[in-house]
C-alpha cells in the first residue's frame, strides 16, 4: 500500500485537489496529476532549472519539492504567465522577439525564474541577468537572446509602461 495524502494546491489561481503518493515530486504532480506539462523534468537533481516553477511567488525547483509540501500553497507554472485572454506575458513576447528559445525545453524554467527575478530586481545589469539565469541550462540558444529579452523587459518595466 503506497503512502498517500490528500492535498489542495492553488495552481495558476485555481484550487486543485488531489490524492498523491507522498514520494511524488511537485513537478511530477503538475505534469501527470494535473496535465500541466509546460514544466519540464530535465536532470531531477536540481541543476538544470527546466523544472523551475514559482511557489508563493518564489522560484523553486519542482523536482526537489514533494507535492505534499505544496499543500496549502500557491503555485505558478509557465501556463499561468499568459493573461486569461491569451495574450502573452511581456517576457514571453520578448523571448519571441529576441529568439530566446529554439527547442523550448529550458524555456518554462527560464520564464518562471526571470519573472521572479525581474519582479525583485527591476533594474538589473546584463551581468545580473546572466547571474540570475546561471541556474538554468540552455543547449540551443547560447543565452544571448534570453539575456536580450530580459533586458528589454527590465527597461520596459523601468519606464513603467
Amino acid at each position: 500500500m503506497a503512502d498517500t495524502r490528500d492535498i489542495e494546491v492553488i495552481v495558476n489561481g485555481e484550487s486543485r485537489v488531489a490524492n498523491v503518493e507522498t514520494r511524488a515530486s511537485l513537478g511530477d504532480f503538475l505534469r501527470h496529476g494535473l496535465g500541466l506539462t509546460g514544466t519540464h523534468m530535465g536532470c531531477e537533481h536540481g541543476v538544470c532549472g527546466a523544472c523551475t516553477v514559482m511557489v508563493d511567488g518564489e522560484a523553486v525547483r519542482s523536482c526537489l519539492m514533494l507535492a505534499v509540501q505544496a499543500n496549502g500553497h500557491e503555485v505558478t507554472t509557465v501556463e499561468g504567465l499568459a493573461s486569461a485572454d491569451g495574450s502573452m506575458h511581456p517576457l514571453q513576447e520578448a523571448f519571441w522577439k529576441h529568439h530566446g528559445l529554439q527547442c523550448g525545453f529550458c524555456t518554462p524554467g527560464m520564464l518562471t525564474s526571470l519573472t521572479a527575478f525581474l519582479r525583485d530586481n527591476p533594474d538589473p545589469s546584463e551581468r545580473d541577468i546572466r547571474e540570475a539565469i546561471s541556474g538554468n541550462i540552455c543547449r540551443c540558444t547560447g543565452y544571448q537572446g534570453i539575456v536580450d529579452a530580459a533586458l528589454e523587459v527590465a527597461k520596459t518595466m523601468q519606464k513603467g509602461s
Partner: protein, 288 residues
C-alpha cells in the same frame, strides 16, 4: 529517477520530530530538500521514513540578541541573505551565500540543512567554522550545545545522534567595523568549490588584533588556519602579512579527487587565503 516509497511525516514541533526520530530507526530528516531530494530521486538514500521539518515554524527565523545572532535551523538561505541585521552585523554571511547554489535553490535550502549535510565544499560550514558558531541540538533528553569545532565527525557526518535534531545556530558577533572576505574558486560558476576561504579581521588602526581564517573544500570538514591567525595578531594590515598567511596554507591536508590533486588544492588555498585577507583588510575600518 523517483524516490523509493517511504512513509511521510510532517511534525509541527521539534518535540514531535525528535519523538519520530526515536521511534523510527531508518528515517531521514527533510529540511530544504536541495541536497536530500537529489539523493532520494537517485535512490542513493532509501529511508523507510521521511520526517519533513517544513511545518516546524518555531525553528525558523533570526534573532539579534545583542552580542550574538541566533539562526533557527530551518531558516531559508534567501531569508538570511535579505535580513538587514545580518547584513549589518555579520556581512560575510550574505557575501558567502551568493556562492551557495543558485537563487532558486536558496529559496528552499536551509542553514541547518547545509550544516547537517556537511558537504566538504559547502560555504555555510566554512563560515560557521570561522565564527566558532555554537550549534544547538535537541534530543529526547533535552538540548545540548556543540561548538562548531566538534560538529564534524566524519565525511558528511556530524556529531548528531540518530534521535537528535539541530534546532539553532548561534553566531557570536565580531566588533563593529571588522573586516571580512569570502572567496571561492570552482571551474564553472556555481559548481562545488574546489577551495573556499572565509576571513575575518578585527583591527586597531592598522594593527590586526584578531583574525579568523577558515578553509573549505580542502579536507572533509573546514580547516582553521590557526597558526596564521596567531601570526597575524599584532601584524600590520598589508600585502606582506597576507602573503605570509597564504603561504602557511600550503601545508594543509587536502583531498585528491578526479578533478584536481591535493597539491593543486594546497596551492589554491594559499592564493585564496591571501585574497580573502586582502578583501578583509580593505573593508576593515578599525574598532569604534
Amino acid at each position: 529517477m523517483k524516490p523509493a516509497p517511504f512513509i511521510y511525516h510532517d511534525p509541527a514541533t521539534p518535540e514531535e520530530a525528535v519523538a519520530l526520530l526515536s521511534q523510527h530507526e531508518d528515517a531521514k530528516v527533510l529540511a530544504g530538500g536541495q541536497s536530500l531530494m537529489p539523493m532520494l530521486n537517485m535512490r542513493f538514500v532509501v529511508p523507510d521514513h521521511v520526517i519533513d521539518l517544513n511545518g516546524v515554524a518555531e525553528i525558523s527565523g533570526v534573532i539579534d540578541t545583542g552580542n550574538t545572532l541566533e539562526i533557527g535551523a530551518m531558516t531559508r538561505q534567501c531569508d538570511l541573505m535579505r535580513d538587514p541585521g545580518v547584513n549589518a552585523k555579520t556581512p560575510i554571511i550574505p557575501e558567502a551565500l551568493n556562492w551557495v547554489g543558485h537563487f532558486q535553490t536558496r529559496n528552499r535550502g536551509t542553514v541547518g540543512g547545509s550544516l547537517c549535510h556537511l558537504d566538504p565544499s559547502a560555504e555555510l560550514p566554512c563560515l560557521m567554522s570561522a565564527y566558532d558558531a555554537v550549534l544547538t541540538a535537541h534530543g529526547p533528553d533535552g538540548a545540548r550545545d556543540i561548538p562548531f569545532a566538534e560538529w564534524p565527525l566524519a565525511y558528511m557526518i556530524p556529531t548528531l545522534g540518530p534521535d537528535e535534531l539541530l534546532t539553532k545556530i548561534t553566531v557570536p558577533y565580531w566588533a563593529a567595523g571588522h573586516g571580512y572576505g569570502f572567496v571561492e574558486y570552482a571551474r564553472r560558476h556555481g559548481d562545488f568549490a574546489l577551495i573556499a576561504v572565509a576571513a575575518l579581521l578585527e583591527t586597531d588602526g592598522d594593527t590586526i588584533r584578531r583574525a579568523s581564517i577558515s578553509i573549505g573544500g580542502a579536507d572533509v570538514s573546514p580547516v582553521r588556519l590557526t597558526a596564521a591567525e596567531t601570526a597575524l595578531v599584532g601584524a600590520s594590515l598589508g600585502a606582506d602579512a597576507f602573503k605570509a598567511a597564504g603561504e602557511m596554507a600550503r601545508g594543509i591536508e587536502a583531498m585528491s579527487d578526479a578533478y584536481v590533486s591535493s597539491a593543486y588544492r594546497q596551492r589554491l588555498a594559499a592564493t585564496l587565503v591571501e585574497r580573502a585577507l586582502i578583501k578583509a583588510g580593505e573593508c576593515a575600518t578599525g574598532s569604534a
